[in-house]
Symmetry: C2
Subunit: 115 residues, 2 copies
C-alpha cells in the first residue's frame, strides 16, 4: 500500500519549515543529503533516535513533502524530495542543509551515512 504524499503544488512553506524546526528531523535530512540523496532504509536512521521516534519523525517529513517513503518488500526506503522542493522553493533546501551541517552531532551522523 502506497503511503500518501503531497504533490508539488501542495507543498507549503510554513509546514515544511515547521517540520524542519526539530533537531532530529534536521538530522534525518542532513543524513540523507550527506548520503548523496540516495535512498536510505528506515533502520539506517537509528543512530538518530529509537525506532518509534524515527518512524514518527519520518511520517512528519513525508506528510510535509520533505521526504518520500516507499515500501520495498518488508522495508521502507526514504528519499529526499530534492527535485520537488527545488522546483517549488529554489535554494531553500540547500541553505537549510548547509546550515544544519554546523549543528553539533549531525557531523557524526553524516559521516556514518557516507561510510
Amino acid at each position: 500500500m502506497a503511503l500518501p504524499h503531497p504533490s508539488v503544488d501542495q507543498l507549503d512553506l510554513a509546514s515544511i519549515l515547521g517540520v524542519l524546526g526539530d533537531q532530529t528531523r534536521l538530522g534525518i535530512v542532513a543524513y540523507l543529503a550527506g548520503n548523496g540523496d540516495k535512498p536510505l532504509n528506515c533502520g539506517q536512521f537509528l543512530v538518530l533516535g529509537s525506532k518509534t521516534n524515527i518512524s514518527y519523525h519520518l511520517a512528519k517529513l513525508r506528510e510535509a513533502g520533505v521526504t518520500r517513503t516507499e515500501a520495498v518488500g518488508t522495508s521502507r526506503l526514504i528519499t529526499l524530495r530534492r527535485d520537488d522542493l527545488d522546483r517549488r522553493f529554489p535554494g531553500l533546501l540547500d541553505s537549510i542543509i548547509a546550515s544544519a551541517g554546523e549543528l553539533p552531532g549531525l557531523e557524526d551522523a553524516r559521516v556514518d551515512a557516507v561510510t
Copy 2:
C-alpha cells in the same frame, strides 16, 4: 527596559525554522524584508493580524533571534536581524524570504509596507 534577545552564538537553526513554520510569522518577515529591512512599528503589522496576535508572534520571532524589538518612547520598533542571521546561516534568510514571496496574501502585505 530592554527586551531579551539571543546572541549570534545562541541562534539555533531548529528554533528559527520552527518559529518560521507559521504563515503569520512568515508574513511579518516578508513584510520587513519588503520594506528594505527598515525598522517597522508594531502597529504596521496589523494588516497581518490582531494586536494581541501580532504581539505574540513578534515575541516568538524575537526569542528565536529572527527580529530585534526596541522600545523607542511609547512604541516598539521591529527590525530583521539580517546581519546576524546571514553570519550564522548564510543564505538561509534570503531563500526563505524568496520562498515566502510566493505565498498568497503576502504580496499585498509587502506592497502595503513599501507604499
